[in-house]
Symmetry: C2
Subunit: 201 residues, 2 copies
């Protein structure tokens, strides 16, 4: 755990919630199934939000070995290299990141970790009719100690097949109109705040 | 306003709330006052969140003419150039962006627009003792039609002088621990959701 101001450790009470950012299978803008490129800033922004809200692990799911290697190098920079000295807070967030080949490997790992399969929730910007789990319900169940895995899609979102295979779907995030083109970085931050944010002053 | 699927306009009910992303004066990691570089992804992510939540304008405040020109080129790409054809949703979000030289020009513009000076709220990740305006209070006042300007800091945050000159400060966003190193993109999304998010299903 990182040391701040050479004095205090940054304490966090972790919850039994994992996030996974899926790069395959996802949709492109023509609704075709593709594999997307891993994005440096997704890794940083979502890891920082995950660390802020006490997430256990943040999984990057991509089958592409060259992308996995590239991201391992980036992680090493912040966890062990110059980045660790420059900004140890960043390393503390990125220490949550784990790389997985595919959804099967992801499910195996989290099932092994929690010694049972967690409840898997998909996220989707499109309005859905079935299997919606309201945020307050999930917040309560997290608070009760249930383990959850939340799937985030890159590009134009998770495929219908992945969404349907999940146990439930979190409601789409929307404002006063019908424009709902948030970045996955922004959507992840809002989902975590809704599920794990504390009541403020 | 952009046309989707060649059929429907994306309607949004705008609120009297503006966002401003400040690049000078802000702090560096040694708490010195600096001007930061404008970041492409701040522009995109925060504009998309602003558009989703019905924000009136998203101001980029930087005194550097070369940065202003660079960003005007980026905006033109998405508003008038190839980007507009490739993804008109992006242009719809970026149409909210306006570039300002400094805080004085920002205050003049929003005062002229609303025909009165809006209530100015600073954001800060550090715990503050005074002038905290709780999110539910601001949410209610927005709903009552009061105009607000929310200042977001880049780099290591707004200077103490800017924070103290604001009418109030929004509470820092924190999770279960004391790690609070969110990106400004994530913080902006969470602030907008807390102030303007709708109750979900």
């Amino acid at each position: 755990m990182a040391i701040r101001d050479n004095v205090t450790e940054q304490e966090v009470e972790k919850v039994k919630v994992d996030l996974a950012l899926i790069h395959y299978p996802v949709l492109n803008k023509n609704q075709e199934v593709i594999g997307s490129a891993v994005t440096n800033l997704d890794l940083h922004d979502i890891a920082r939000a995950a660390r802020t809200y006490g997430i256990d692990s943040f999984y990057i799911v991509t089958p592409y070995k060259d992308q996995q290697e590239l991201f391992q190098e980036l992680l090493d920079h912040w966890l062990k290299g110059h980045g660790q000295k420059y900004n140890s807070d960043r390393g503390e967030a990125l220490s949550l990141v784990q790389i997985c080949d595919d959804l099967n490997q992801l499910f195996e790992r989290v099932t092994k970790k929690w010694q049972k399969r967690p409840t898997v929730l998909a996220t989707c910007a499109r309005q859905k009719q079935s299997k919606i789990w309201p945020y307050p319900l999930v917040k309560q169940r997290i608070s009760d100690g249930e383990s959850f895995l939340i799937l985030l899609g890159t590009a134009w979102g998770l495929t219908q097949e992945v969404i349907e295979a999940a146990d439930g779907i979190l409601p789409p995030i929307s404002g006063p109109g019908n424009y709902n083109h948030l970045s996955v970085r922004a959507a992840a931050a809002i989902v975590l705040d809704r599920l794990l944010g504390r009541e403020e002053v």
